[in-house]
């Protein structure tokens, strides 16, 4: 069952909700985008673009002014806790770059599958057997243990090209995400070892904003004009909640909307990917988080 929540009062109500049961410390998103950190341009990267989906084509002038579809949030969207699985954490924190399958976009973005498969001694022995390489159980066990340690280190700390998993994952979140990664990598029996975690909506929003939006968007900065947008400038996160209503934000994230660009400004298909794998509730969580924890420098 889904409810349309469109009035400003209802939006204010959502924003004012406390974060019950929040075991983590939620903090604002800060600093430059990850692409800026890597000195990599938006046009030269696959980071954050795994959905491969973009917004609708620009409407003809006869269709102006543009109208928004009604906001479709579920009755469960109350700002309180929700049960997440490792697959949800993967969507929020990994899928933007590594894709739904985990294969990444080599050579820029490596697959997550091989490092995960390396944590299973039996799977490694089988894979090497197919390559006519015979590895004994005695050799495979310490190799898998090392791979396990390296992978956990990466989940907690990130890498050189891979951002640290911002916000830092709790032990429970790592267990949950790791369990899903093993399922994604096809390790036998992993699907029966999934571990749910209970998280407040604000934490969900924090995951999405810091791990997905912040790849391309800086926390603060100059809000570009339509002309500057056409010159490939990317708006900062700090301007989103003032520029967009909750409805506009959720629509932009989940289905995409045309963007006003150029001088004179006309609506065009934006360059921002559409995150088809996020639900309206989850996009609203991101809006809620950005509203209650304004991005800072």
């Amino acid at each position: 069952m889904r409810h349309g929540i469109t009035t400003p009062a209802a939006i204010f109500f959502l924003l004012a909700l406390p974060s019950f049961g929040c075991a983590q410390v939620i903090t604002p998103v800060v600093g430059e985008s990850w692409l800026s950190h890597l000195h990599r341009s938006f046009d030269d990267t696959s980071m954050g673009k795994s959905s491969g989906a973009y917004g609708p084509s620009a409407p003809m002038p006869s269709a102006w002014p543009l109208t928004q579809p009604g906001l479709q949030l579920s009755i469960k969207f109350t700002g309180q806790s929700t049960t997440l699985h490792g697959s949800d954490l993967y969507r929020f924190k990994c899928q933007g770059c590594h894709g739904v399958s985990g294969a990444g976009a080599p050579p820029e973005i490596n697959s997550v599958l091989d490092p995960v498969r390396a944590t299973s001694p039996s799977m490694y022995i089988e894979r090497m057997k197919k390559a006519c390489m015979y590895v004994t159980s005695k050799d495979a066990a310490p190799l898998a243990k090392q791979a396990n340690g390296m992978l956990l280190d990466r989940l907690y700390k990130g890498g050189t090209d891979m951002p640290s998993p911002n916000p830092t994952l709790t032990d429970a979140e790592v267990r949950s995400l790791f369990a899903y990664l093993r399922q994604l990598a096809g390790i036998p029996g992993a699907e029966k070892q999934q571990v749910p975690v209970v998280e407040p909506a604000l934490r969900v929003g924090e995951h999405i904003v810091k791990s997905t939006c912040h790849i391309c968007h800086a926390s603060v900065g100059h809000n570009p004009s339509p002309q500057e947008l056409s010159e490939a400038q990317i708006p900062p996160l700090s301007s989103l909640t003032s520029r967009l209503s909750l409805n506009e934000f959720v629509t932009k994230i989940t289905t995409g909307t045309p963007v006003l660009e150029g001088s004179p400004a006309i609506p065009v298909r934006g360059r921002m990917p559409v995150f088809t794998y996020l639900t309206p509730d989850e996009a609203a969580d991101a809006y809620l988080y950005l509203s209650l924890y304004p991005p800072s420098n």
């Binding site: 390559a131 050799d139 190799l143 090392q146 791979a147 390296m150 090209d161």
Partner: protein, 188 residues
């Protein structure tokens, strides 16, 4: 002056009489190495130079490294992801398997190779990565070029066993070297 010139000619002639270049081709070969097995009653000094093997762009580089027994190989990780270095056997002998370790960019690992043979290098994190180290039992070794041609210079005259390693498989032939000598292999 005349005396000196005669002496040099005699000396060169003498050298040519005791060593030569062993050369030839390896038919049907991919990347190959040719090594001369240890000559009985001949000991060679321990190598003092180390060799380098990198893991770069999700590959071992070079794909084939040929070294003399006793050489230390320094492994380095040039990628932004962790890599592992291990081999499940040396020339099929599983008792000689070894896990050098798993390491991040910027770190190095070392190993001194005391056993001659073919070492298939693997990274258990990235199973598509495969490299090879061929450890020669003698200082007489080389890597064949892309067309399979090889040459080993200054081989003392004598009778040897020469082994061509291609894709982990060995082809061993007996050869008597007397001055410049030809020896062709047919890769298995």
């Amino acid at each position: 002056m005349k005396f000196t010139a005669v002496f040099v000619v005699l000396l060169l002639s003498s050298l040519n009489a005791f060593s030569g270049t062993l050369s030839g081709g390896i038919k049907g070969a991919g990347q190959s190495a040719v090594v001369l097995e240890t000559v009985p009653s001949k000991a060679f000094p321990t190598p003092t130079q180390s060799a380098a093997m990198n893991q770069q762009g999700m590959k071992f580089a070079p794909a084939l490294l040929v070294i003399e027994k006793g050489t230390t190989v320094v492994f380095s990780n040039e990628d932004n992801v962790p890599h592992n270095v291990f081999w499940p056997n040396i020339s099929g002998n599983k008792a000689l398997s070894h896990n050098v370790g798993t390491f991040n960019k910027g770190k190095t690992l070392s190993f001194k190779y005391e056993n001659a043979g073919n070492v298939p290098l693997l990274c258990n994190i990235h199973s598509e990565m495969l490299g090879t180290i061929v450890v020669s039992p003698s200082p007489y070794f080389t890597e064949a070029d892309a067309s399979g041609e090889y040459s080993i210079k200054d081989v003392p005259d004598g009778t040897y066993k020469a082994t061509a390693w291609t894709n982990g498989k060995a082809t061993t032939l007996a050869i008597t070297v007397k001055g410049d000598t030809k020896l062709d292999f047919a890769a298995k």
